[in-house]
């Protein structure tokens, strides 16, 4: 901090409503992104186990592509490149898609690990009872598989939430872009970024609490 700089949190106080709306924006982006990531993750695992080789390859290529390129580039691609082929999306929708697609690629690998951890006797028991492969996956494999990888998956979802700050690059409505605007109007960078750091911390904490409440309700059954 330069000599003679005096902290003045009054600007933050004035901007508090805007910052809190930013928090809401971030939480909204994150939850929508997680939902999409979960759908892509589960769908990807199903396709990854398909008997059709092209489908399996498609998933592998998708996962490799997303996990080996920067998120910022992915979101720029969606935002600036897609309009060239006639697909114009607003920043928030773009952000949700980018977060969902990015998180989905990681979720595929995580959920696949969970599915592989399920004893194949479970699948055989389901098949032997006359259930189809799809039913076995949905009704027998999925829940215990999600339970097995729940900590990794929710950890990934926290990452996704923090990554949403990068969506400020396309001016999606979320906490970091709100902070950037306030900072550019007041030049109080330290106060503003210090405050949103705490806010991100609070958001993460809130989500983790939510995840653990959900897990206590959804994974009721005892193991061993």
């Amino acid at each position: 901090m330069p000599l003679g700089y005096t902290l003045d949190f009054s600007v933050v106080l004035d901007a508090l409503p805007a910052l809190l709306w930013g928090c809401a924006g971030t939480i909204g982006l994150a939850l929508a992104g997680m939902a999409l990531a979960l759908v892509i993750g589960i769908g990807g695992v199903v396709l990854r186990g398909s008997k059709h080789r092209p489908l399996r390859s498609l998933v592998i290529v998708f996962v490799e592509l997303i996990r080996n390129t920067p998120f910022l580039v992915q979101i720029f691609f969606l935002f600036f490149a897609l309009p060239n082929i006639g697909l114009v999306l607003n920043p928030t929708v773009t952000a949700i898609i980018a977060l969902g697609v990015n998180g989905g690629a990681y979720a595929i690998e995580i959920i696949r690990g969970g599915v592989q951890s399920i004893d194949k006797g479970q699948v055989e028991a389901g098949l032997a009872l006359g259930l189809h492969k799809g039913q076995v996956f949905r009704m027998i494999v999925l829940k215990p598989a999600l339970r097995a990888i729940y900590p990794s998956l929710t950890g990934q979802f926290i990452m996704l939430t923090l990554t949403s700050s990068i969506c400020s690059a396309i001016a999606a409505y979320e906490l970091t872009s709100v902070a950037q605007r306030i900072e550019s109007e007041t030049f109080r960078s330290f106060e503003v970024y210090f405050t949103i750091t705490l806010m991100y911390l609070a958001i993460s904490w809130l989500l983790m609490t939510g995840f653990s409440v959900f897990s206590r309700r959804y994974f009721l059954y005892p193991t061993r």
Binding site: D119, G121, Q122, E124, A125, G126, L127, A128, L129, G130, L131, Q135, M139, I140, K143, P144, R147, F219, Y221, P222, T223, R224
Partner: protein
């Protein structure tokens, strides 16, 4: 459905009447490993068969071919008149008529005992929940575990879990029950409760194919004991004859080992 062109098998001690399961010249390969060699077997309605033999002899493979958990390379299998092929129709038809009990129970951990028992009747047979529950409670009663209907598998002992697994299979009202070493994973004190359940089932006239080394059980309920080694059926006879005077040297040495362990 009814396939009348099936040839009567020429198996010794084949039961009289219209058989429920007919395996003819079945060959199964795992890659380059020849797991079943020209297996011929016919199981009559109501018949109880005990399948035994050394580890790796193909006992599990044989019964898993019956409900198409494994596919065969050549030969034919007919279950209740349905000739098994790769079509989903034959797979569906057979699996809903054939119950299976596994060595490791394989109860679904996230479902209660009752849910384990109602899942397939509701989802496969399309039976309404209330009726599926009534049926489930009846079979749970029969394996004497009805009071645990609301519990989860992890809250039960091994013997209790295996009895639930038997009830779960029975809820589909199958025509035949396959057992793959149902007592091998159990602590000794729990073996009896499961065997008693199986004996009861046999008394009620269920058709059963049991892979087991429980010789007492074989003596008590089996109509026929089948001895396998290296993917082949080497000997089959009624239990008294088989245990008293096994003809094949491999059967003799196998029985010697079994007795030494008991």
């Amino acid at each position: 459905m009814q396939d009348t062109s099936v040839m009567r098998p020429t198996v010794p001690a084949a039961p009289a009447g219209d058989p429920l399961i007919v395996m003819e010249a079945v060959n199964k390969w795992y890659g380059t490993y020849h797991a079943l060699r020209d297996v011929n077997l016919s199981v009559g309605r109501g018949e109880k068969i005990v399948l035994c033999g050394p580890s790796g002899s193909g006992k599990s493979t044989l019964i898993r071919c019956i409900n198409q958990l494994e596919t065969i390379k050549s030969g034919s299998i007919t279950v209740d008149g349905t000739r098994l092929d790769d079509s989903s129709r034959s797979v569906d038809a057979v699996r809903s008529e054939v119950g299976m009990v596994f060595q490791s129970f394989n109860l679904f951990p996230h479902m209660t005992v009752l849910q384990n028992c109602t899942l397939a009747p509701m989802r496969v047979r399309g039976i309404a929940a209330a009726q599926a529950e009534a049926t489930a409670r009846r079979y749970l009663e029969r394996v004497r575990i009805a009071e645990h209907a609301h519990k989860y598998p992890a809250q039960l002992s091994g013997g209790q879990q295996q009895r639930v697994a038997i009830a779960r299979a029975l809820c589909m009202e199958p025509k035949v029950m396959l057992f793959d070493e149902p007592t091998s994973a159990l602590d000794p004190e729990m073996v009896k409760e499961v065997l008693d359940t199986m004996v009861g089932l046999a008394r009620d006239g269920m058709t059963m194919v049991c892979v087991t080394h429980e010789m007492g059980f074989a003596r008590q309920v089996a109509d026929r004991v089948i001895f396998m080694a290296e993917g082949e059926i080497l000997e089959q006879a009624d239990p008294e004859t088989f245990f008293r005077s096994p003809r094949h040297p491999r059967a003799r040495s196998f029985l010697g080992e079994i007795l030494a362990h008991h």
